[in-house]
Protein backbone atom coordinates (compact mmCIF):
# COMPACT_ATOMS: atom_id res chain seq x y z
CA UNK A 1 0.00 0.00 0.00
CA UNK A 2 2.89 2.25 0.74
CA UNK A 3 4.14 1.59 -2.79
CA UNK A 4 1.98 4.07 -4.73
CA UNK A 5 2.83 6.95 -2.48
CA UNK A 6 6.51 6.07 -2.47
CA UNK A 7 6.46 5.90 -6.28
CA UNK A 8 4.62 9.19 -6.57
CA UNK A 9 7.02 10.95 -4.23
CA UNK A 10 10.02 9.33 -5.87
CA UNK A 11 8.86 10.45 -9.31
CA UNK A 12 7.54 13.92 -8.52
CA UNK A 13 9.83 14.92 -5.64
CA UNK A 14 12.91 12.71 -5.83
CA UNK A 15 13.25 12.94 -9.60
CA UNK A 16 13.02 16.77 -9.74
CA UNK A 17 15.65 17.04 -6.99
CA UNK A 18 18.01 14.76 -8.92
CA UNK A 19 17.11 16.35 -12.24
CA UNK A 20 17.82 19.75 -10.73
CA UNK A 21 21.31 18.56 -9.83
CA UNK A 22 21.84 17.26 -13.39
CA UNK A 23 20.63 20.50 -14.98
CA UNK A 24 22.95 22.49 -12.75
CA UNK A 25 25.96 20.99 -14.56
CA UNK A 26 24.45 21.39 -18.04
CA UNK A 27 23.95 24.24 -20.43
CA UNK A 28 20.12 24.39 -20.52
CA UNK A 29 18.51 26.92 -22.84
CA UNK A 30 15.09 27.38 -24.37
CA UNK A 31 16.50 25.73 -27.49
CA UNK A 32 17.48 22.42 -25.92
CA UNK A 33 14.94 22.29 -23.10
CA UNK A 34 13.09 19.38 -24.72
CA UNK A 35 16.14 17.17 -25.11
CA UNK A 36 17.49 14.83 -22.48
CA UNK A 37 21.10 15.11 -23.64
CA UNK A 38 22.59 18.55 -23.29
CA UNK A 39 26.12 19.94 -23.26
CA UNK A 40 27.89 19.08 -20.01
CA UNK A 41 29.57 22.18 -18.58
CA UNK A 42 30.90 20.89 -15.28
CA UNK A 43 30.71 23.44 -12.51
CA UNK A 44 30.58 26.41 -14.92
CA UNK A 45 27.08 27.40 -13.82
CA UNK A 46 28.21 27.52 -10.19
CA UNK A 47 31.41 29.39 -11.04
CA UNK A 48 29.47 31.96 -13.05
CA UNK A 49 27.02 32.52 -10.18
CA UNK A 50 29.69 32.94 -7.56
CA UNK A 51 31.61 35.36 -9.79
CA UNK A 52 28.42 37.37 -10.35
CA UNK A 53 28.45 40.60 -8.31
CA UNK A 54 24.84 39.80 -7.41
CA UNK A 55 25.95 36.73 -5.47
CA UNK A 56 27.33 38.64 -2.48
CA UNK A 57 24.30 40.88 -2.37
CA UNK A 58 21.81 38.00 -2.55
CA UNK A 59 23.76 36.06 0.07
CA UNK A 60 23.74 39.04 2.39
CA UNK A 61 20.02 39.67 1.82
CA UNK A 62 19.19 36.01 2.40
CA UNK A 63 21.14 35.85 5.67
CA UNK A 64 19.58 39.09 6.93
CA UNK A 65 16.11 37.99 5.88
CA UNK A 66 16.32 34.50 7.36
CA UNK A 67 17.94 35.53 10.66
CA UNK A 68 15.67 38.57 11.06
CA UNK A 69 12.51 36.61 10.32
CA UNK A 70 13.33 33.56 12.39
CA UNK A 71 14.37 35.67 15.40
CA UNK A 72 11.47 38.12 15.29
CA UNK A 73 8.86 35.43 14.63
CA UNK A 74 10.21 33.38 17.50
CA UNK A 75 10.30 36.26 19.98
CA UNK A 76 6.84 37.45 18.95
CA UNK A 77 5.47 33.90 19.08
CA UNK A 78 7.05 33.26 22.49
CA UNK A 79 5.69 36.52 23.95
CA UNK A 80 2.18 35.68 22.71
CA UNK A 81 2.38 32.05 23.85
CA UNK A 82 3.45 33.08 27.36
CA UNK A 83 0.76 35.75 27.47
CA UNK A 84 -2.05 33.43 26.38
CA UNK A 85 -0.90 30.81 28.84
CA UNK A 86 -2.18 33.06 31.65
CA UNK A 87 -5.60 31.88 32.79
CA UNK A 88 -8.21 34.47 31.84
CA UNK A 89 -11.64 34.25 30.23
CA UNK A 90 -11.45 34.15 26.43
CA UNK A 91 -7.72 33.33 26.28
CA UNK A 92 -8.19 30.55 23.74
CA UNK A 93 -10.72 32.63 21.79
CA UNK A 94 -8.29 35.53 21.33
CA UNK A 95 -5.45 33.17 20.55
CA UNK A 96 -7.65 31.59 17.89
CA UNK A 97 -8.32 35.01 16.33
CA UNK A 98 -4.60 35.63 15.93
CA UNK A 99 -4.19 32.25 14.28
CA UNK A 100 -6.36 33.43 11.40
CA UNK A 101 -3.36 35.34 10.03
CA UNK A 102 -1.50 32.14 9.46
CA UNK A 103 -4.13 30.33 7.41
CA UNK A 104 -4.26 33.10 4.77
CA UNK A 105 -2.51 32.46 1.44
CA UNK A 106 0.90 34.22 1.41
CA UNK A 107 -0.03 35.89 -1.84
CA UNK A 108 -2.96 37.67 -0.19
CA UNK A 109 -0.76 38.72 2.71
CA UNK A 110 1.72 40.18 0.23
CA UNK A 111 -1.07 42.07 -1.54
CA UNK A 112 -2.55 43.49 1.68
CA UNK A 113 0.83 44.49 3.10
CA UNK A 114 1.83 46.16 -0.13
CA UNK A 115 -1.22 48.36 0.29
CA UNK A 116 -0.56 48.96 4.00
CA UNK A 117 3.00 50.02 3.13
CA UNK A 118 2.07 52.15 0.11
CA UNK A 119 4.09 55.37 0.27
CA UNK A 120 1.36 57.91 -0.55
CA UNK A 121 -1.87 56.58 0.91
CA UNK A 122 -0.57 53.71 2.97
CA UNK A 123 -1.98 53.51 6.47
CA UNK A 124 1.39 52.65 8.06
CA UNK A 125 3.03 55.83 6.80
CA UNK A 126 0.00 57.75 8.02
CA UNK A 127 0.21 56.17 11.48
CA UNK A 128 3.95 56.82 11.79
CA UNK A 129 3.49 60.38 10.66
CA UNK A 130 0.64 61.17 13.02
CA UNK A 131 2.58 59.68 15.93
CA UNK A 132 5.32 62.15 15.04
CA UNK A 133 7.83 59.41 14.30
CA UNK A 134 8.48 60.42 10.69
CA UNK A 135 8.44 63.77 8.94
CA UNK A 136 7.73 62.58 5.39
CA UNK A 137 6.55 59.42 3.65
CA UNK A 138 8.83 56.38 3.76
CA UNK A 139 9.07 54.71 0.36
CA UNK A 140 9.05 51.29 2.01
CA UNK A 141 9.03 49.03 -1.03
CA UNK A 142 10.51 51.33 -3.66
CA UNK A 143 13.55 52.45 -1.65
CA UNK A 144 16.47 49.95 -1.72
CA UNK A 145 17.29 50.92 1.88
CA UNK A 146 13.93 49.78 3.28
CA UNK A 147 12.54 47.15 0.89
CA UNK A 148 13.97 44.21 2.83
CA UNK A 149 12.51 45.64 6.05
CA UNK A 150 9.13 46.00 4.34
CA UNK A 151 8.95 42.37 3.20
CA UNK A 152 10.29 41.25 6.59
CA UNK A 153 7.42 43.03 8.36
CA UNK A 154 4.87 41.19 6.24
CA UNK A 155 6.59 37.83 6.66
CA UNK A 156 6.96 38.22 10.43
CA UNK A 157 3.25 39.01 10.64
CA UNK A 158 2.62 35.80 8.73
CA UNK A 159 4.97 33.62 10.80
CA UNK A 160 4.21 34.76 14.36
CA UNK A 161 0.99 32.70 14.80
CA UNK A 162 2.75 29.49 13.76
CA UNK A 163 5.51 30.11 16.31
CA UNK A 164 2.92 31.01 18.93
CA UNK A 165 0.87 27.86 18.50
CA UNK A 166 3.83 25.46 18.49
CA UNK A 167 5.28 27.14 21.58
CA UNK A 168 1.84 27.06 23.25
CA UNK A 169 1.67 23.33 22.61
CA UNK A 170 5.16 23.00 24.09
CA UNK A 171 4.26 25.07 27.14
CA UNK A 172 1.13 23.01 27.75
CA UNK A 173 3.37 19.95 27.99
CA UNK A 174 5.42 21.36 30.88
CA UNK A 175 4.06 19.75 34.09
CA UNK A 176 2.44 22.29 36.43
CA UNK A 177 3.82 20.75 39.62
CA UNK A 178 7.42 21.55 38.63
CA UNK A 179 6.52 25.24 38.63
CA UNK A 180 4.73 24.93 41.93
CA UNK A 181 7.68 23.16 43.51
CA UNK A 182 10.06 25.81 42.17
CA UNK A 183 7.79 28.60 43.42
CA UNK A 184 7.77 27.00 46.87
CA UNK A 185 11.55 26.94 46.78
CA UNK A 186 11.45 30.69 46.19
CA UNK A 187 12.20 30.92 42.45
CA UNK A 188 10.66 34.03 40.88
CA UNK A 189 8.90 34.06 37.49
CA UNK A 190 12.05 35.08 35.56
CA UNK A 191 14.15 32.43 37.25
CA UNK A 192 11.43 29.82 36.62
CA UNK A 193 11.34 30.77 32.96
CA UNK A 194 15.07 30.34 32.41
CA UNK A 195 15.56 27.38 34.73
CA UNK A 196 12.46 25.34 33.88
CA UNK A 197 10.50 26.54 30.87
CA UNK A 198 13.33 27.09 28.40
CA UNK A 199 15.22 23.81 29.08
CA UNK A 200 12.01 21.77 28.92
CA UNK A 201 10.97 23.49 25.70
CA UNK A 202 14.30 22.83 24.04
CA UNK A 203 13.18 20.05 21.63
CA UNK A 204 10.17 22.15 20.56
CA UNK A 205 12.40 25.17 20.07
CA UNK A 206 14.89 23.29 17.90
CA UNK A 207 12.14 21.84 15.73
CA UNK A 208 10.47 25.23 15.48
CA UNK A 209 13.64 27.14 14.56
CA UNK A 210 14.47 24.57 11.89
CA UNK A 211 10.94 24.75 10.44
CA UNK A 212 10.89 28.56 10.50
CA UNK A 213 14.22 28.68 8.68
CA UNK A 214 12.87 26.42 5.96
CA UNK A 215 9.59 28.33 5.76
CA UNK A 216 11.40 31.61 5.10
CA UNK A 217 12.50 30.02 1.82
CA UNK A 218 8.80 29.93 0.98
CA UNK A 219 8.54 33.69 1.43
CA UNK A 220 8.98 33.76 -2.33
CA UNK A 221 5.25 34.40 -2.88
CA UNK A 222 5.31 37.39 -0.55
CA UNK A 223 8.46 38.94 -1.99
CA UNK A 224 7.41 38.29 -5.56
CA UNK A 225 4.12 40.12 -4.96
CA UNK A 226 5.54 42.99 -2.95
CA UNK A 227 8.85 43.88 -4.61
CA UNK A 228 9.79 41.26 -7.23
CA UNK A 229 13.13 41.15 -5.40
CA UNK A 230 13.81 44.80 -6.17
CA UNK A 231 14.36 47.66 -6.33
CA UNK A 232 17.84 47.00 -7.75
CA UNK A 233 17.88 43.56 -6.07
CA UNK A 234 17.68 45.02 -2.57
CA UNK A 235 15.14 42.38 -1.51
CA UNK A 236 16.43 39.61 -3.75
CA UNK A 237 16.98 36.36 -1.84
CA UNK A 238 18.15 32.99 -3.22
CA UNK A 239 14.73 31.48 -4.07
CA UNK A 240 13.81 34.70 -5.90
CA UNK A 241 17.11 34.73 -7.74
CA UNK A 242 16.70 31.09 -8.78
CA UNK A 243 13.24 31.88 -10.13
CA UNK A 244 14.42 34.95 -12.01
CA UNK A 245 17.31 33.10 -13.62
CA UNK A 246 15.01 30.34 -14.88
CA UNK A 247 11.85 32.19 -15.76
CA UNK A 248 13.01 35.67 -16.72
CA UNK A 249 16.48 35.08 -18.14
CA UNK A 250 15.73 31.48 -19.28
CA UNK A 251 19.07 30.44 -17.80
CA UNK A 252 17.67 27.15 -16.49
CA UNK A 253 21.14 25.83 -15.70
CA UNK A 254 21.84 28.85 -13.48
CA UNK A 255 18.42 28.60 -11.83
CA UNK A 256 19.03 24.91 -11.16
CA UNK A 257 22.45 25.66 -9.67
CA UNK A 258 21.04 28.23 -7.23
CA UNK A 259 18.22 25.83 -6.33
CA UNK A 260 20.67 23.00 -5.74
CA UNK A 261 22.77 25.11 -3.39
CA UNK A 262 19.68 26.10 -1.42
CA UNK A 263 18.34 22.54 -1.38
CA UNK A 264 21.55 21.43 0.29
CA UNK A 265 20.96 24.02 3.02
CA UNK A 266 17.30 22.98 3.35
CA UNK A 267 18.28 19.32 3.64
CA UNK A 268 20.75 20.02 6.42
CA UNK A 269 18.22 22.09 8.36
CA UNK A 270 15.51 19.49 7.69
CA UNK A 271 17.71 16.76 9.13
CA UNK A 272 18.09 18.81 12.29
CA UNK A 273 14.30 19.11 12.38
CA UNK A 274 13.66 15.40 11.82
CA UNK A 275 16.24 14.52 14.45
CA UNK A 276 14.80 16.81 17.08
CA UNK A 277 11.24 15.64 16.41
CA UNK A 278 12.27 12.01 16.66
CA UNK A 279 14.30 12.68 19.80
CA UNK A 280 11.17 14.18 21.31
CA UNK A 281 9.08 11.15 20.36
CA UNK A 282 11.54 8.79 21.98
CA UNK A 283 11.84 10.75 25.20
Amino acid sequence: MVGFTALYLAFFVGYPVVYNLIMSVQDVTLGNIRYLVRPFVGLDNYAKLIADPLFTMVLQNTLLFVIGNVALQFLGGLALALFFQQPFPGASFFRGLILAGWILPPLVIGAVWKWLLASDNGVINYALHSLGLTSGPIYWLSDPATSLIGVTMANVWFGVPFNMILLSAGLAGVPRDIYEAAALDGAGPVRRFFAITLPLLRPTIYALLALSTIYTMRAFDLIWTMTHGGPVDSSNIFPVWAYRLSFELFDFGGGAAVSTMMLVVVFIVALIYVRSVRAEQLS
Binding site: M1, V2, T5, A6, Y8, L9, F12, Y15, P16, V17, Y19, N20, V28, I33, R34, F83, F84, F88, P89, F94, G96, L97, I98, L99, A100, G101, I103, L104, P105, L107, V108, A111, V112, W113, W115, L116, N121, V123, Y126, S130, W157, V160, I165, L166, A169, I214, D221, W224, T225, P239, A242, Y243, S246, F252, S259, V269, A270, Y273, V274, V277
Partner: protein
Protein backbone atom coordinates in the same frame (compact mmCIF):
# COMPACT_ATOMS: atom_id res chain seq x y z
CA UNK B 1 -9.11 43.05 38.34
CA UNK B 2 -6.03 41.32 36.99
CA UNK B 3 -8.25 39.15 34.78
CA UNK B 4 -10.08 42.06 33.18
CA UNK B 5 -6.74 43.74 32.53
CA UNK B 6 -5.55 40.59 30.77
CA UNK B 7 -8.74 40.44 28.70
CA UNK B 8 -8.28 44.07 27.72
CA UNK B 9 -4.67 43.48 26.67
CA UNK B 10 -5.72 40.37 24.71
CA UNK B 11 -8.42 42.34 22.90
CA UNK B 12 -5.98 45.12 21.98
CA UNK B 13 -3.26 42.71 20.86
CA UNK B 14 -5.56 40.64 18.66
CA UNK B 15 -7.27 43.74 17.29
CA UNK B 16 -3.90 45.21 16.40
CA UNK B 17 -2.75 41.95 14.86
CA UNK B 18 -5.88 41.54 12.74
CA UNK B 19 -5.88 45.13 11.52
CA UNK B 20 -4.46 44.19 8.06
CA UNK B 21 -7.38 41.81 7.51
CA UNK B 22 -9.86 44.47 8.58
CA UNK B 23 -8.15 47.02 6.34
CA UNK B 24 -8.49 44.69 3.35
CA UNK B 25 -12.28 44.53 3.81
CA UNK B 26 -12.60 48.24 4.68
CA UNK B 27 -10.59 49.29 1.60
CA UNK B 28 -12.65 47.03 -0.65
CA UNK B 29 -15.80 48.84 0.44
CA UNK B 30 -14.55 52.38 -0.14
CA UNK B 31 -15.10 54.59 -3.18
CA UNK B 32 -11.82 55.59 -4.80
CA UNK B 33 -11.91 59.19 -3.46
CA UNK B 34 -12.19 57.90 0.05
CA UNK B 35 -9.53 55.27 -0.59
CA UNK B 36 -6.98 57.98 -1.34
CA UNK B 37 -8.22 60.41 1.32
CA UNK B 38 -5.71 61.91 3.73
CA UNK B 39 -6.19 61.26 6.61
CA UNK B 40 -7.52 57.77 5.81
CA UNK B 41 -10.95 56.94 7.22
CA UNK B 42 -10.96 54.06 9.67
CA UNK B 43 -14.54 53.09 8.85
CA UNK B 44 -15.81 53.50 5.27
CA UNK B 45 -18.17 56.54 5.24
CA UNK B 46 -20.16 55.43 2.25
CA UNK B 47 -19.63 51.67 1.88
CA UNK B 48 -20.19 50.53 -1.68
CA UNK B 49 -19.98 47.29 -3.64
CA UNK B 50 -18.74 49.06 -6.78
CA UNK B 51 -15.31 47.44 -6.61
CA UNK B 52 -16.86 43.98 -6.22
CA UNK B 53 -19.15 44.54 -9.19
CA UNK B 54 -16.22 45.83 -11.25
CA UNK B 55 -13.97 42.83 -10.63
CA UNK B 56 -16.72 40.35 -11.50
CA UNK B 57 -17.89 42.21 -14.61
CA UNK B 58 -14.59 43.44 -16.01
CA UNK B 59 -11.96 41.05 -14.71
CA UNK B 60 -13.81 37.77 -14.84
CA UNK B 61 -12.95 36.91 -11.27
CA UNK B 62 -15.53 34.13 -11.32
CA UNK B 63 -13.39 32.23 -13.83
CA UNK B 64 -10.30 32.53 -11.61
CA UNK B 65 -12.24 31.35 -8.56
CA UNK B 66 -13.69 28.43 -10.48
CA UNK B 67 -10.19 27.40 -11.60
CA UNK B 68 -8.95 27.63 -8.00
CA UNK B 69 -11.82 25.45 -6.83
CA UNK B 70 -11.18 22.90 -9.57
CA UNK B 71 -7.44 22.72 -8.88
CA UNK B 72 -7.71 22.51 -5.12
CA UNK B 73 -10.52 19.92 -5.13
CA UNK B 74 -8.54 17.72 -7.52
CA UNK B 75 -5.42 18.07 -5.41
CA UNK B 76 -7.40 17.17 -2.29
CA UNK B 77 -8.89 14.00 -3.81
CA UNK B 78 -5.59 12.86 -5.31
CA UNK B 79 -3.70 13.59 -2.09
CA UNK B 80 -6.15 11.72 0.18
CA UNK B 81 -6.22 8.72 -2.17
CA UNK B 82 -2.45 8.48 -2.31
CA UNK B 83 -1.88 9.30 1.35
CA UNK B 84 -4.25 6.72 2.84
CA UNK B 85 -2.25 3.58 2.11
CA UNK B 86 1.08 5.06 3.06
CA UNK B 87 -0.19 6.66 6.25
CA UNK B 88 -1.88 3.43 7.32
CA UNK B 89 1.21 1.32 6.68
CA UNK B 90 3.43 3.83 8.47
CA UNK B 91 1.11 3.75 11.47
CA UNK B 92 0.82 -0.04 11.68
CA UNK B 93 3.98 -1.65 10.35
CA UNK B 94 7.21 -1.32 12.31
CA UNK B 95 10.36 -1.90 10.30
CA UNK B 96 13.52 -0.14 9.31
CA UNK B 97 12.06 0.52 5.85
CA UNK B 98 9.09 2.28 7.37
CA UNK B 99 11.48 4.50 9.32
CA UNK B 100 13.39 5.30 6.14
CA UNK B 101 10.11 6.02 4.36
CA UNK B 102 8.92 8.28 7.16
CA UNK B 103 12.12 10.30 7.12
CA UNK B 104 11.87 10.55 3.33
CA UNK B 105 8.31 11.82 3.63
CA UNK B 106 9.27 14.35 6.29
CA UNK B 107 12.13 15.62 4.13
CA UNK B 108 9.94 15.98 1.06
CA UNK B 109 7.45 17.86 3.21
CA UNK B 110 9.85 20.76 3.65
CA UNK B 111 11.12 21.26 0.08
CA UNK B 112 10.16 24.80 -0.94
CA UNK B 113 8.27 24.98 -4.28
CA UNK B 114 10.37 27.91 -5.59
CA UNK B 115 13.40 25.61 -5.48
CA UNK B 116 11.63 22.72 -7.22
CA UNK B 117 9.83 24.65 -9.89
CA UNK B 118 12.77 24.88 -12.33
CA UNK B 119 13.12 21.08 -12.80
CA UNK B 120 9.31 20.68 -12.68
CA UNK B 121 8.92 23.16 -15.51
CA UNK B 122 11.53 21.39 -17.65
CA UNK B 123 10.10 17.93 -16.91
CA UNK B 124 6.53 18.96 -17.70
CA UNK B 125 7.78 20.68 -20.85
CA UNK B 126 9.42 17.42 -21.94
CA UNK B 127 6.30 15.34 -21.40
CA UNK B 128 4.13 18.03 -23.01
CA UNK B 129 2.01 18.74 -19.98
CA UNK B 130 2.96 22.39 -19.78
CA UNK B 131 -0.05 24.71 -19.81
CA UNK B 132 -2.40 22.07 -18.49
CA UNK B 133 -4.16 22.06 -15.16
CA UNK B 134 -3.05 18.45 -14.74
CA UNK B 135 0.57 19.64 -14.43
CA UNK B 136 -0.40 22.06 -11.65
CA UNK B 137 -2.40 19.35 -9.86
CA UNK B 138 0.49 16.87 -10.02
CA UNK B 139 3.01 19.49 -8.90
CA UNK B 140 0.90 20.85 -6.03
CA UNK B 141 0.26 17.32 -4.79
CA UNK B 142 4.01 16.95 -4.16
CA UNK B 143 3.59 19.65 -1.54
CA UNK B 144 0.37 18.38 0.06
CA UNK B 145 1.00 14.62 -0.06
CA UNK B 146 3.87 14.37 2.46
CA UNK B 147 1.96 16.63 4.81
CA UNK B 148 -1.18 14.49 4.53
CA UNK B 149 0.78 11.26 5.08
CA UNK B 150 2.37 12.58 8.27
CA UNK B 151 -0.95 13.81 9.64
CA UNK B 152 -3.13 10.84 8.65
CA UNK B 153 -0.55 8.54 10.16
CA UNK B 154 -1.23 10.19 13.54
CA UNK B 155 -4.99 9.67 13.08
CA UNK B 156 -4.56 5.99 12.23
CA UNK B 157 -2.15 5.45 15.12
CA UNK B 158 -4.88 6.65 17.48
CA UNK B 159 -7.29 3.88 16.39
CA UNK B 160 -6.62 0.94 18.75
CA UNK B 161 -5.23 -2.00 16.82
CA UNK B 162 -7.30 -4.38 19.00
CA UNK B 163 -10.45 -3.27 17.20
CA UNK B 164 -9.02 -4.33 13.85
CA UNK B 165 -7.75 -7.59 15.26
CA UNK B 166 -11.15 -8.35 16.73
CA UNK B 167 -12.70 -7.85 13.29
CA UNK B 168 -10.11 -10.12 11.72
CA UNK B 169 -10.77 -12.81 14.28
CA UNK B 170 -14.40 -12.61 13.18
CA UNK B 171 -13.25 -13.41 9.66
CA UNK B 172 -12.85 -9.98 8.03
CA UNK B 173 -9.91 -9.53 5.66
CA UNK B 174 -7.31 -6.88 6.45
CA UNK B 175 -8.80 -4.57 3.79
CA UNK B 176 -12.32 -5.06 5.07
CA UNK B 177 -11.24 -4.43 8.66
CA UNK B 178 -9.56 -1.25 7.48
CA UNK B 179 -12.58 -0.06 5.48
CA UNK B 180 -15.19 -0.96 8.10
CA UNK B 181 -13.39 -0.20 11.36
CA UNK B 182 -10.37 2.03 10.99
CA UNK B 183 -11.47 4.38 8.25
CA UNK B 184 -14.75 5.44 9.96
CA UNK B 185 -12.91 5.95 13.25
CA UNK B 186 -10.32 8.16 11.56
CA UNK B 187 -12.92 10.32 9.79
CA UNK B 188 -12.25 13.40 11.91
CA UNK B 189 -8.64 13.16 10.83
CA UNK B 190 -9.78 12.99 7.20
CA UNK B 191 -11.93 16.10 7.58
CA UNK B 192 -9.07 18.07 9.10
CA UNK B 193 -6.41 16.84 6.68
CA UNK B 194 -8.75 17.26 3.70
CA UNK B 195 -9.56 20.82 4.73
CA UNK B 196 -5.93 21.76 5.25
CA UNK B 197 -4.83 20.19 1.98
CA UNK B 198 -7.61 22.07 0.22
CA UNK B 199 -6.54 25.37 1.81
CA UNK B 200 -2.87 24.77 0.97
CA UNK B 201 -3.71 24.03 -2.65
CA UNK B 202 -6.12 26.98 -2.80
CA UNK B 203 -3.31 29.36 -1.84
CA UNK B 204 -0.65 27.80 -4.09
CA UNK B 205 0.99 30.35 -6.36
CA UNK B 206 4.43 29.27 -7.58
CA UNK B 207 3.34 26.21 -9.58
CA UNK B 208 0.35 27.73 -11.39
CA UNK B 209 2.17 30.97 -12.22
CA UNK B 210 5.07 29.03 -13.75
CA UNK B 211 3.25 26.14 -15.40
CA UNK B 212 0.20 27.94 -16.84
CA UNK B 213 0.31 30.91 -19.16
CA UNK B 214 -3.24 30.69 -20.50
CA UNK B 215 -5.36 33.16 -18.58
CA UNK B 216 -8.45 30.98 -18.88
CA UNK B 217 -6.77 28.21 -16.87
CA UNK B 218 -5.15 30.28 -14.12
CA UNK B 219 -6.37 30.21 -10.50
CA UNK B 220 -7.20 33.24 -8.37
CA UNK B 221 -3.73 33.53 -6.84
CA UNK B 222 -2.28 34.21 -10.27
CA UNK B 223 -5.18 36.54 -11.07
CA UNK B 224 -4.65 38.51 -7.88
CA UNK B 225 -0.94 38.72 -8.60
CA UNK B 226 -1.81 40.39 -11.91
CA UNK B 227 -3.69 43.03 -9.89
CA UNK B 228 -0.96 43.90 -7.44
CA UNK B 229 2.31 42.87 -9.07
CA UNK B 230 2.68 46.13 -10.98
CA UNK B 231 4.16 49.27 -9.43
CA UNK B 232 0.88 51.07 -9.54
CA UNK B 233 -2.19 49.22 -8.42
CA UNK B 234 -5.87 49.96 -8.17
CA UNK B 235 -6.09 49.13 -4.48
CA UNK B 236 -9.87 49.23 -4.12
CA UNK B 237 -10.35 46.56 -6.78
CA UNK B 238 -7.33 44.57 -5.61
CA UNK B 239 -8.64 44.47 -2.05
CA UNK B 240 -12.10 43.48 -3.30
CA UNK B 241 -10.53 40.59 -5.21
CA UNK B 242 -8.46 39.59 -2.17
CA UNK B 243 -11.59 39.71 0.06
CA UNK B 244 -13.63 37.52 -2.26
CA UNK B 245 -10.74 35.10 -2.52
CA UNK B 246 -9.97 34.70 1.20
CA UNK B 247 -13.41 34.95 2.77
CA UNK B 248 -14.07 31.21 2.23
CA UNK B 249 -10.69 30.47 3.83
CA UNK B 250 -11.54 32.55 6.88
CA UNK B 251 -15.02 30.99 7.20
CA UNK B 252 -13.66 27.43 6.95
CA UNK B 253 -10.99 28.27 9.47
CA UNK B 254 -13.49 29.67 11.98
CA UNK B 255 -15.75 26.63 11.65
CA UNK B 256 -12.97 24.09 12.12
CA UNK B 257 -10.52 26.18 14.11
CA UNK B 258 -10.01 23.91 17.10
CA UNK B 259 -9.54 20.77 15.04
CA UNK B 260 -7.28 22.50 12.51
CA UNK B 261 -5.05 23.86 15.25
CA UNK B 262 -4.65 20.58 17.10
CA UNK B 263 -4.13 18.77 13.80
CA UNK B 264 -1.46 21.16 12.61
CA UNK B 265 0.53 21.18 15.83
CA UNK B 266 0.45 17.38 15.80
CA UNK B 267 1.55 17.40 12.15
CA UNK B 268 4.55 19.59 12.83
CA UNK B 269 5.78 17.95 16.01
CA UNK B 270 4.94 14.27 15.66
Amino acid sequence: MRKSLLVAVAAIVSGFYLFPVYWMYASALKVSDELNANPPTLIPHAPTLTAFRWIFERENVAQYLWNSLLLSSSVTVLTLLLATGAAYSLARVRSIWMDVMLIGVMLSQVLPPPLLVTPMFVIFRQIDLINTQLAVILATTTKTLPFAVVMLRTSFAQVPIDLEEAARVDGASRTLAFLRITLPLARVGYIVVGTLVFLLAYGEFVYPVSLLNKKALQPATVGLYGFVGADYSDWGNAMAFASVFVTPVIVIFMLLQRRIVSGLTAGALK
